[in-house]
Amino acid sequence: MPEYIESVRVLLPILTTLVAPYFIWRFRDNEDLREGASFIAGLLTFAGVISLAPAVLAGKVWTYTPFVIYPGISIKFVADGLSMVFAIVASFLWMFATFYNVGYMRGLKEHAQTRYYFCFAVAIFGAMGVSFAGNVLTLYLFYEVISIFTYPLVAHHEDDEAFEGARKYFVYLMGSSKLFFLPAMVLTYVLCGTLDFHIGDLAHGMFPPDANPVLVQITYALYIFGLAKAAIMPLHNWLPSAMVAPTPVSALLHAVAVVKAGVFSVCRVMLSVFGVDILDKLFLGIPTAYLAAFTILVASIIALTKDDLKARLAYSTVSQLSYVIIGVSLLTPMAVRGGMLHIAHHAFSKITLFFAAGAIYVAAHEKKISRMGGLGRKMPFTFGAFGLAALSMIGVPPVCGFVSKWYIVNGALQAGQIALLVALLGSTLLNAGYFTPILYTAFFKPAHPDVDHAHISEAPLSMVIPLFLTAVISVLLGLFPETFLQFINVFAK
């Protein structure tokens, strides 16, 4: 049992993100104050999250229960190693995203910017809530908050295409959570008598040893299909549809907050609700791993066929998310660590890629890869950062993607799953197959005849600086993976 610290401090990041939307709305008439409010909120949130770190690294767990609805059903918050990984990633990248948002929204003179920043902040509020959720109900509530408040962001452009995409997004996420997650939550309560996560060790979960195995398996299946934000096939289609959103939305939310909330929730469910032992005993881990492997390969293959840059990145995200799932479902120590590490490492690399896609759109108004010939020479920093992040996705050392993949691959070895090992290595080849053409088209191909290069130069600094920094961080994380590993090691003792 871990040492708990009862303290309101764990609510700090959640409160700052709850209050931020109010200030954003308040300052709706003054652009700079409004963006400043976003940024300051991000800074405070990040500071709040970091302040929790030392105790967590020392092996303690923060907790606080603001409301108790019924015995075993409450709104409860908890901060352990796994929470810290997601919370740090989301809050840190929110600051970068705010800078980037400024450049993008002002660069394109977008409408309804207040609504945009407002919903962004609330979505991060949801992400904070998910990461610090202490029981299934809290997780569910904040998970839904994210779905609801990202809808206006996805539908931002307000044209037919946007509404179509947003509707699909919403239906998938809401539909799956209502149909599957809710019953799973209920079943959990019925079988365990409580909704509180089992914190402190991975091996055991909430279920008592005499729980009906069939019911446990059904509950597990319901959870997996209820967490469509993790984009496991066949419930992945919302992700490419959500690409109608403005690119910063795609960047932060669909590469970081929304999807990471999904895979984080899957990790939390697998490790803190079920636990490694039960997953192993009831043969739940390996089928999940195979489903994830299928997702990885098929999504990568589909990505090969897409010419739209964001669509290709969307399918790449679907594929990469399943790396997290496959890592955790292999159940061996190295694989589980690798999967959780990938949550962080993928976030930094993927956000760089989406930021770059947005920068390309703002600077050159191009979305299709085949038309991006020679753009790399005009936008060297953007494409240079893209290149670094692409190397991370492919898994070339020493960029961070290599480190998390290394752990997962070793974990697959530990589990003796050679077929999955082959799938993982094969996906590396596929990743190279769909990222490399983007790079060589941009740097080494001549300009597309229909594209006028004379007026193209780098995107505004407020966009290029964040994306360059996240690329550099990706490299640094690869050289110093203990940044996130230390939290994971504490969690996975």
Binding site: T305, T428, Y440
Partner: protein, 606 residues
């Protein structure tokens, strides 16, 4: 388990890993500060000189297991395993890198130099790697560097060829990775040592496969003639040396004595010269030749006796020098005339006499003419094969020797420099540094030829081979002389034609196309089917859910289903008000459904 990187330098005699010098120079050049070409170009010569210094110092020091290591990802990476086998390769790598950078001295594009430096750094890293993990990291680094050297030609053919090259090398690298991981699982260690052919496991064969891709063993060789002719003029010089010889080194280290290598090696020697004889593009002829010459080395390693492995190393050493010189010569032709096709060249001897001389020095070296380095190195392997009673292999090698002289020693220069009385093609002047580089290489080819001790001193095993005996000299002269006569008699038959010869890459392309076709059809079908499912089932389901919770807020659900402008208005104005309302609705809806199911189970349970 601390994951921090902790460099550990264990040798008292300060070990400068050559790769550091190259990577540092690359880093300095890649940063986008405004620096004039005439200043930064001198930086190009620094890493090779540092490398030569370091390697020469190491060649006088005793062997070392691990001179430098790093802790990363819970493993200890060994960067400094130094012994005679590593030294001989590092020695020639250092010298060739100096020659290569002198040859590329006139190139003003920094990116090309950065790519070359990364590439060379990878080569040194592989040679000094003491464990498979380190080897893999530098192996991938070499892939990236060399791919850039192809792409930087900025030609549509080069772009496509570079992509194929990169994908194929990643493919090979994955076999290496898979093999080394499975080996780690079985043996618990990453240490890179010799593998006993009698007890090799499937994972050892996976590693062998990965090595063979870089060594261009048939049928994994097609990337070489596909990509090398498309590389930059100066890049090809580097590439001719490093990728394949690093592969030879790792094969010598790990797989000496594997029978399959002995046979495949000889197959390579013959296959390479066969294609070289019928090719038209000068650089493609040389690329096929690399396959052939590497075949000698691979065969020598496969036979596995001390003499044949020594032969392989000596041959690698000499090969780097003369092959580099051949590529430099062909590169000068390409640079000056704009083409490498023999059908368009010819009659250039009097206009580019020094290029011709340097080329001929390399040509006679590769053919094994006495007084040049090929003679003192190639025949060690053939001798060794014969002494090991591998008569058929030795015969194959001798036949390939004839073919070598025929295609690279006579045919290429004849049709490039002679065959026509005059050639009106316009010549771009060749910068001095290219001549200097070729001169140095030519000198070394001759120097080692007349003073073979320089090379023999570096060989890993003791050798008592005497190259200059009357018989050996006569035999070589007879062989070469009469091959020349054969060419003279058939000179009308062997005229090159401007055609493309199919090789295994035809198969690779077929496979690639089939895969893409197979993939895009089903994915399009699945996509459309799934959209249908969503429209029919998904939306209906949502409607049903909406009805079920309509008690709480029909309007709210309706806006979701319709996706109408209503939601925009709803959302646009006073977002705070509208959204929190929605949240409460959903909270309520969720709790209602939850309680309903909960109640159902409660009753069922009891």
């Amino acid at each position: 388990m601390t994951e921090a990187i902790e460099p550990v330098i264990q040798s008292a005699a300060c070990f400068i890993h050559p790769s550091i010098a190259y990577l540092a120079a690359a880093l300095i050049l890649v940063l986008p500060w405004k620096w004039e070409y005439k200043h930064w170009r001198w930086l190009l010569l620094v890493p090779p000189i540092v490398a030569i210094y370091s390697v020469v110092k190491l060649s006088f020091a005793p062997d070392a297991e691990c001179l430098a290591s790093l802790h990363y990802l819970g493993q200890t990476l060994n960067f400094g395993r130094v012994d005679k086998l590593a030294i001989i390769f590092a020695h020639v790598f250092a010298i060739q890198s100096l020659i290569g950078f002198i040859y590329a001295f006139h190139v003003k594009e920094r990116a090309q130099h950065v790519a070359a430096m990364v590439y060379v750094a990878g080569g040194f890293g592989c040679v000094f790697a003491g464990d498979f993990l380190t080897l893999f990291i530098f192996w991938e680094l070499m892939s990236v560097g060399s791919t850039l050297l192809i792409w930087l030609r900025r030609d549509p053919k080069a772009t496509a060829a570079g992509f194929r090259y990169f994908m194929f090398h990643i493919f090979g690298g994955l076999f290496l990775l898979g093999g080394l991981l499975l080996r780690y699982k079985a043996l618990g260690t990453f240490v890179f040592t010799a593998i006993d052919p009698a007890s090799a496991q499937y994972y050892d064969y996976l590693i062998l496969f990965g090595f063979c891709v870089n060594a261009a063993v048939i049928p994994l060789h097609a990337w070489l003639p596909d990509a090398y002719p498309e590389a930059t003029v100066t890049g090809a010089v580097f590439m001719s040396a490093f990728t394949t010889k690093t592969a030879v080194y790792v094969l010598a280290r790990g797989f000496a004595g594997f029978e399959v290598l002995a046979v495949m090696g000889v197959v390579m020697t013959l296959y390479g010269v066969a294609y070289a004889t019928i090719e038209n593009n000068a650089r493609r002829i040389l690329a096929y030749h690399i396959v052939s010459q590497v075949g000698y080395m691979v065969a020598g390693i496969g036979i596995g006796t001390a003499m044949t492995v020594d032969g392989a190393c000596a041959h690698a050493y000499a090969h780097i020098l003369y092959k580099g010189l051949l590529f430099m010569g062909a590169g000068c032709l390409l640079f000056s005339t704009g083409t490498a096709k023999l059908t368009e060249l010819g009659g250039l001897a009097k206009r580019l006499p020094w290029v011709m001389i340097c080329y001929m020095v390399a040509a006679v070296s590769i053919s094994g003419m006495p007084l040049f380095n090929g003679f003192v190195s190639k025949n060690i392997t053939i001798n060794g094969a014969a002494e090991a009673h591998r008569t058929w292999l030795a015969l194959g090698m001798e036949i390939a020797a004839v073919g070598t002289f025929l295609s690279v020693g006579i045919k290429l220069p004849y049709f490039a420099f002679w065959s026509k009385t005059s050639n009106p093609i316009e010549l771009k002047p060749i910068p001095v540094n290219m001549y200097v580089a070729m001169g140095i290489a030519a000198f070394l080819c001759f120097f080692i030829g007349v003073y073979p001790e320089f090379l023999y001193r570096l060989l890993p095993f003791e050798i008592d081979y005497v190259p200059y005996t009357p018989w050996k000299v006569l035999q070589a002269s007879l062989l070469l002389g009469f091959t020349g006569l054969g060419f003279y008699l058939c000179r009308k038959v062997i005229v090159p034609k401007a055609r493309l010869n199919l090789d295994f890459d035809y198969l690779y392309r077929l496979v690639g196309r089939a895969f893409l076709w197979l993939v895009s059809k089903p994915s399009a079908i699945i996509d459309s089917v799934w959209s249908e499912v969503y429209k029919t089932v998904g939306l209906r389901l949502m409607l049903f859910m909406g009805l079920a919770t309509s008690v709480f807020d029909v309007k709210g659900i309706d806006t979701v289903i319709d996706g109408a402008a209503y939601s925009t208005r709803f959302v646009g104005t006073g977002a705070a008000r509208g959204q929190t309302g929605r949240l409460q609705d959903y909270l309520a809806a969720a709790i209602l459904i939850g309680l309903a199911i909960f109640a159902a189970f409660w009753f069922l349970k009891y």
